[in-house]
Every structure is written in C-alpha cells, then in structure tokens.
C-alpha cells in the first residue's frame, strides 16, 4: 500500500460506513405487523437488501411540465368536449370529478390556459351542486338529472384543488387560488379524520365511509391519497395538515399488504387495530390502486418497500387486476397506459429507462389508460429525467 493510500485510509475510515448505513433503513423501519411477502414474487426478490431509493421529494411546480403539446392536443380531441367535459369513453361516456381534475392538471402542464378554463368552467357549472365546496363525483349525460350522486369523491376534490393551485401559481390568477383554497379547506374540514391510530385518515367521501355509516368504518382507499397534490396544496391551504396525511398514507401502504402478492385491496377497513379488506367490496387490487405507485413517484416520496410489491408483481407478470386472497391475476390490463405505470415504477425502483413505447401517441386507448399515460409522462418529466435519457 502506498503511503498516500495508507493515509487516505486512515482519514476516510468513516466513509465506508455510509454504505452500511444506507442499507439499514429498509430493515429497520419495516413494521413488525407487515405480513410476510411470500409466493412467486417474493421468491424472485433478491436476498440481499437493495440500495435505498434516492428520490427527490421537493415540491416541484407542474406548470409547463408536459413538453409534448401534440399529446395533449390529441387527448383533447378525443376526450374533452367543446364545453369542457371530460368523457370516460369506456364507461358509458360519463364524466367524473377525478377526470375533470386530471384534465385540468394536464392542461396546466401543457400550458393550455384556454383549455384549462373550459374544463374548470364545465366542472364548476355542472359538478359543484353540493351545498358545500366539494364536487359531486359522477355525471351521466343521458339521465335526468345528469348528476348521478350528491356524494363527493375526495380524490376528485384533491385533484381539482391541486390543479387550481397549480394554475394559480403558473398563471398568477387569484380567482383560481380562491377556488382552490375553498375546495382544499373543505377537504381538510370534512374529509380528514384527525388523530386516529393511523394518524390522519382521508375519507373517500363525506357520506358512506365513516364509522357512523358502516360497521367496519372508517373505510379508506389508498389511491385517494394523491401524494403530489398533498405536497402542493400548502400553496392555497397551508392551514391544513397535508404532511400528516402524506405520512399516514405512507404508513398504510406499508401495512396494507395481503395474500401471496402482498398487494393492497382497493377498499380498506381501518376500524380495528390493523387494516383489513373492507366488507362488501371485492377483495382485489384493481383499477384504483394501480395508481398508488404513480402518486408516490410523482411526489418523489417513499422508500423501496413502498414500491416493491407493485414492482415485483408487475415486473414478473405485467399489470393486472389481482385477487388479493389468491394472488392470482383475474384480468390483464392490456392498454398501453397501464404499462406506463409499470415503466414509471421500474424507473423508480431499478432505474430502468423508458422505451419508445412510453413516448408514443396511441390513437385507440380509452380515457383512463390514455390519462394515465399523460400523467406518467408528466411525472417522468418532472422527476425522472435519468430514465428519459437513454
């Protein structure tokens, strides 16, 4: 050993420790209650703990994040009417608060203020029929009245409030900020259950999910924790504890793992000491919950174990609806937009670059996968440039 190397070794004696240190959190923070992940996916998981994820959780503005305007143009031409209604093409041409919120977000990302105004204008004129600041969740064009349900959906509310906050921030529009604040504060007031044993919980709707409404209530849906919204809503409502909600979401994702796949079911009862699949709902991992890794990645939060069940399941057999009890796939999700969720997740967990398919315009997709495609792309543009450059 040369003298130089020798001395460096003395003085850098602590340096190798950082590697050891970085390995620790994954095992250290795993809760004792987490069901053991077994089965095919788990067997293929590498035995030695992987490096911790190096994510950037800083709040990043959404405005202008979608560089490819043609994708948005094509999306609008297929799914957004002249009036500003976002049409769910696979679902009886209905609209919902969530879809309106998504499209408002994409419009901000695409720097399309006229488009944003149309979609927001339709949303408030047609869905804000409740006697509070929340948004009726479902609208059907061929029914009298078109509003199908006076209940709200808290993910739709969060998406719309977030989009308004981003629009206010990006275009400097006070009117959007006020509208966003009114919705966000109402979510904080009516939909967040404070100081439960899981911390703050997000009720999926004002009606039907609380302990007063159901024996197994409160019932929650982890895909309603729109993490990137929670990190940006302080723009309009700093007085609501969004960070507490983020934390409970992260905690619940760690413990809500069922069956051989270790995946969460869509609807969870948080009535007992632990979460369990809620009564009266299919015990599946499905269309809602596939968005969990998207929201985590979009916010740039979570540890490896938050993503691992999804990454394991999807990298071995593709994305599908999974029966949480048997771990079997019951329905393959073949449209491209669903695969984009896989691509984004594997970018996070393995640094896997996106393929050309990720960037392609797809003319035949339905509303939901087409939306997930654009959302994944925006999230990638905002935080995962390394996977875009390949």
């Amino acid at each position: 050993m040369s003298p130089r190397a020798a001395l460096l070794a003395v003085f850098m004696v602590v340096a190798p420790l950082t590697v050891a240190a970085q390995q620790a959190p994954a095992t250290q923070t795993r809760p004792a209650t987490a069901p053991r992940v077994v089965g095919p996916a788990a067997q293929q998981a590498p035995e030695k703990p992987l490096d911790p994820l190096q994510l950037d959780a800083r709040a990043i503005p959404l405005g202008g994040a979608l560089k490819n305007a043609a994708l948005w143009q094509a999306y609008k031409a297929r799914f957004v009417t002249e009036q500003g209604r976002v049409v769910d093409t696979a679902n009886g041409m209905i609209s919902h608060s969530e879809g309106q919120g998504y499209a408002m977000l994409i419009a901000v990302a695409a720097n399309d203020r006229a488009g944003f105004e149309k979609i927001w204008g339709w949303t408030r004129a047609n869905l804000m029929v409740r006697d509070d600041q929340l948004v009726a969740w479902r609208w059907e064009p061929n029914a009298r009245p078109p509003v199908a349900d006076m209940n709200n959906a808290s993910d739709g509310d969060l998406l719309i409030a977030w989009a308004l906050a981003e629009a206010a921030d990006f275009w400097g529009e006070q009117a959007y900020k006020i509208a966003g604040r009114r919705i966000a504060v109402e979510v904080g007031r009516k939909l967040i259950l404070l100081k439960t044993k899981f911390g703050s919980l997000l009720l999926p709707g004002v009606s039907g999910f609380a302990g007063e409404d159901r024996k197994d209530g409160p019932v929650v849906n982890l895909s309603y924790w729109v993490f990137p919204a929670l990190s940006r809503l302080p723009l309009v409502a700093p007085d609501v504890d969004w960070a507490g909600l983020t934390q409970s979401g992260l905690d619940l994702i760690k413990i809500a793992r069922f069956g051989p796949s270790g995946l969460p079911t869509e609807w969870l009862s948080a009535a007992g000491g632990d979460v369990r699949p809620a009564d009266g709902f299919a015990k599946t991992f499905g269309y809602n919950t596939i968005r969990i890794p998207l929201y985590l990645a979009w916010a740039g939060i979570g540890e490896r174990e938050h993503y691992q069940s999804f990454a394991n399941a999807w990298s071995t057999r593709g994305i599908s609806v999974v029966d949480a009890q048997t771990g079997r796939s019951t329905e393959s999700l073949s449209e491209g937009g669903y695969s984009d969720l896989v691509a984004l997740t594997l970018c996070v967990t393995n640094g896997k670059p996106f393929t050309g398919e990720f960037f392609a315009t797809r003319a035949n997709e339905n509303y939901y996968p087409a939306t997930l495609h654009l959302l994944s792309m925006i999230a990638a543009n905002m935080r995962y440039g390394s996977c875009l450059r390949s």
Binding site: V13, V14, K76, P141, P145, D149, Q174, I178, R189, A210
Partner: protein, 722 residues
Amino acid sequence: MLAKLSPAFLIWFAAFVSGDLARAQAQTSMGGMAPASAAKAANIPAAVVPGTQVEAALSADAPDESGLRYYARLGQSARVAAETKRLQRLYPNWRVPDDIYAPVANDGVDEEPMWDLYAADKVDELVSAIERRIAGEPGWQPSKDLVNKAQAKVLRRKIMAYWQDGQWRNLVELVKGANISSAEVDILWAIAEAHSKIKQTTETLEIYKTILNTNTKSDARIATIQKAMGTLRMAEVEQLVAMAKIGPDGKDEFAAISVDLTRARMSAFLHDEAAKEISGPELDEFKAYAEKDQDPNQPALAAWYHYKRREYREGLDWFKLALEHGGDAMVAHGLALTLQNLDMKREAEEVAYAWREPLVNNSILFIDILERDLTKPIPPYIEPQRLLRYGQVAMETTSGQGAQALAWYAYNSCQYEVAHEWFRRAVAWHPKEPTAYGYALVLRKLKKSKEYVEIINRYDGLYRKVIDLVFPDDLYHPPTPCETDLRQAAMAGMAGMYGATGMAGQAYMQVNPGMTLAGAQPYGQPNMQAQGAVQDPARMYAWGRVPLPGQNGNVQMQPNGVFGQQQTQQVVKLNRSEFPVSTSPENDLRYPSPGAAAANAGFAGMMAREPVPGPWPLVARRVPGIGPMPYERYGFTLLPGWQGQTAASNPPASAQIAPAGTLWAKEPPEQAPIDAQTGMPVAGSNGHGAGGYGVGAPQFMAPAAPMQGGRPNDSKTTFRRG
C-alpha cells in the same frame, strides 16, 4: 469487511467521544485481535497503528513482540502472560524485554508543525504533511495522539457535514450504538437534531437529558433547552425544563429564557399540542416583552393565542399592535376575524377588503362577511359604493358566493334586470340549489320563458326548490316588499324614504327610484282581503294569522287555487310546454375571470364533439343524497338511481351528520345570527370561517308569516317563494 469495520469503528468512536484517548488508541487496533490483523481488517495501515509492526518490520527473524507490547500497554496481564508463554514455546531462549511497560517512543517528537495545522483546523494540509513525512522518512510514524486527534477531527467534520447537508439518516447511522455521553455538546446537538428529523424523538429527548445530566455549563444547558424547543414537542421539552437547577438565589436556571418558553407553549397551544397551561403572570411577562419588541410576530402570537381561546376582546388590541409593528396580511386576517366575532362586521369588512390582494383568505372573508346581509330576505340598506366594490371583487375572483349574494340582494330589492345578470354568473360559478332557484325566479319574473323552462327541467330530480315552482305547495306565503302595492305604500308616506339614487359609473345595482329599500322599513300594504293577514295598527307590517291550537286544515291562500287539499291527491295540471321537457343536461353558462378571458387566445384547439347529443329523458331518476320531489305527493314516481336506489334519501346530503374526528364535527353548533329587524335567528345561515360559506340565500320565511304546520323533512333552509 464492512460488517467487521462498523463495530470496530464504533468501539473506537465510543472511546473517542468519552475523551479516553489512551483507550481510543488501544481500541483503534480492535480490541482482542492481534494488532496487525486488526489494522488490516480496519483498513488502517500498519505503519500508523502505533507501536505495532515497526519492530517486526525491522527484524523479521526475531520473535514478533508487537502483540505482547500491545497487551502490555493495555494492561491486560493475563494476555501478556499467555503471549509470553506462546513466544517462549517458539523461541526457548527468548526473554521478556524489560521495557514492555515503558512508554512508546516518538510520541509527538518533531510534530510541532503538524500540531500547528491541527490547531488551525487545516485537516487537509495536516494529512498532506504527514504523508510527505512518511514518504520522506522511511520508518517514521505519527504519534498516536496526533492520529487520534486528527481522526476525531475528521469524524467531527463528517458529522457536521451530514448535519449541514441534512443527511440525517446517515448521521444517525454513523453514531449508532456508540456511547456518546461525553462528546462535545455541539456534536450532541447535531446528533439529537438528526434523530428528531427522522422522527426518533425519544432518542433526541434522551440526548438532551444526557447533556443536562452531565454538562454543568450554564450556556450549554440553556442552549440545549432552546435546541429542544426547535426539535421536540413542547410536552417533551417540559421534561427537560423540569430538570432545571435552582440557584442559590432561588431562581430557576432557565428563567433567563422564560419568554422563549412561554412563546413555545403558546405556539404549542395554537397547534393543538398538549402543552402546559400558561399562567396569568407568565402571559403578562410575555406581553410586556411583545409590546416592546419591534417584531410583529410577537404581538401577533399573543393575539392568535387569545383568538383561539375565543377571548376576542383581549385579542383585538394585540392584532392592532401587530399590524402597527408591520404585521402581514395574515395578521390583518386575524384582526378581521376578531372584529367579525365581536360583531363589528362593518370594520371587519373594511380590513378584509384592504388586505384582500396579498392574501386570498381576506378576499374570501370579504365576500363572506357581507354575503350574510346581502342575502337577508328583507335586506338592509347598503351604500352603493360598498355594493360596487363588492361586485368588483366578485367579478375579479369569479366568486360564486359573491355573485349569488348580489343577485339575491337585487332580487329582494326589486332590481330584476340586475338580479338576472348576477344570477347568470352565480349559476355559472356556484350552481347550488338556492342559486338555481333564484335564477328560475328571476327568469319567470322577467318572462324569459325559454331559459326558465330549461332551468326547471335541468334540475328536475336534483333541486326540490326549483321544482316547487312547478308544483307549489299549498301553504300561505306572504308577499315580498316588491310584490306589495307600491301605490298604497306611497300613499302611506313610506316610499322614497330610503330610495337610493345610484351613483356615477354604477352600471348595476341601480335601485329603482321610489322603492323602499331599507330592511327596517315596512312591506308596504299587503292585499289584506286576498291574503288574510293581520296588520299592526300603523299598517306598516304584515303578519300571517296564527292558527288556534288544534285548528285543522290548511289555509288556502293560493289565489289561482291550482291545488286542492293534499288528501285528495289531485293531480296538478301541468303546462306540458313547460314541464317535463327534454332539456340538455349541461349547464352551459360560462363567465371566465378577466385574466382568463384575456388569455383566452391560448391553444384550446380542436376538441371532441359531445357524444350524447340527446334527446334526453323526460322522467327524473333518484339521486342519492336528494330528498323527495314535490310531485311525489301526487303519486308521480322517479326512476331508480344509478345504483338502483328507489326511495328518496333521508336525511338528504344537505343534512349529513359530520363524521366524528373531523374538524367539522368539532365546530360548535351553528349560532344563527340574529336578524336586527325581527330579533329572530336568521335561518339557513352558515359559518363564515375559512371553510364556511353562506348556503346561498338564507331566504327564511319572514316571521310575518308563520308557516302552517311546517313541512316534513324540511331542511334548515326555507325559501321565499316568488
């Protein structure tokens, strides 16, 4: 390799932080391992493990005494004896040297320049100097003291670098398992903070306790409490505060920071954290300080503290003081809320208006404060200038609440054209039940029948009040001031008394000259014969006739007599051109904000065609959350809801009980404001806090007309009929 290195380092580190350099030096060589192998395992060059392999390197054939000397220096006599036996077996003629317990040579000799570098904190230069010396003088090695101290400096630097970069987890891992009780206090603060950042606050608290247990320096102890206030919850800090030493003068050692402690307790209270109750003298001490301090945040804290305790009168002066000290728009917001709670609404309105642009909370509050007066069924007189600016703010911010408030004010003061304009905006921005109902009323009044038909059909199945216009109930409803006979009112000498004349540039809300506006003024002259009302002797007010107890039957006051007795289930004669009519389900009213309208050149581009162009159904369906429709009393039914629901919802969504655990559930039962004219609570009003807003038009039935028997399942809001 790593697995071995980590504990070795930590043992070393434990010694280092305990200040036992001799032990640290010994343990650098990894405890029980032979020094050479220990050095190898630790990746530390043998040359710098003091007194180990130097001798061995010099005489390869001689017995290797390094282990022996090593154990001797550690004072481990049993191991010295064992090693002696081992060497004697290998080298029968060998004898134990006399000097194995003697101090090792070369401790610090000729190291002056290096110690200078050390003292000057020039660690990099120090490394280079040692390096050059080793290269230039074969066999030379730095003294163990220098190595240890330099290592400590490197470690310290590492800890502080992690601390500065916010690499909390790495910092915690670095010191994990080490006995850190004797480390320098700033290192301990850094470690404590790192634990708190990764939510290991129990560890944080323990480190602070360690400091208070071991460190006697007053500055360090006080600073530890200050650090704790920045990293722990106040309930935990109180455990540390309780460890205070009482001086000979009987004074608590932390008295010097009592204001800081009070401030932290107040802050904890404001954040709903468990906190020690603040005593009167303690609060007074803080206030005396806050009053003098130029920082507006200090009086503001006192102000919010009182606000949260609902001590509005006490809080008022503190908000004012904070503003005088340069407080921001949030302080102004507190002042406006306080004024509102003290029923000084006029002042609150001014404050909220003045501070509306820097903080949207104030803009929202401005709209909400005046909304209540504007939507009174008999609204009070409001100066045109105030209405003008209210309208301006409503337009700038596309405020649905503001638009509907002005719309109702205009409607209830007989300014129908203006009301129509505001209702169109309100329905675009805020299409709640009262808004749609008011819009339908004004459309009917203005005989805009196409739009009227559209509205009543669009909201069929959703808004009972709108459908009430097609199927009126059979109860008596008094005339509104606008519906009374103006000529008679004029003859009674009342007209024009409060008639506003409008102002220059006021494009809207021009009051019809000659109309009575002030809410304190009488209705005018109701048609007594037709409506069976009673009057006060001055014929200024009209009241409904109160039924005798046990009196049966409904008062039949409908002049056109459309409906018979309810029992007869007589089917209403519908105007088929009005209802039901196939109507586009979409509300297409749009009024973008001035900013959005100006930017509308953006690239909306080609958009999809509406895929469901009609015709649309004539029969309404059930909507979960909606109560019965008025026509159900005639036997009409609705189609099942989207999930098959066939019965009306009871209670409806508007009467939803707040789920326990929400802030909503913690709100005090709504205190209905008292109507200045009637002394009665105003129904249908709503909290005007951050999340509250007016239900729309709280058009409660004027007390002049007690309702006959009430209505089943009526929500708290009743509506004036047109």
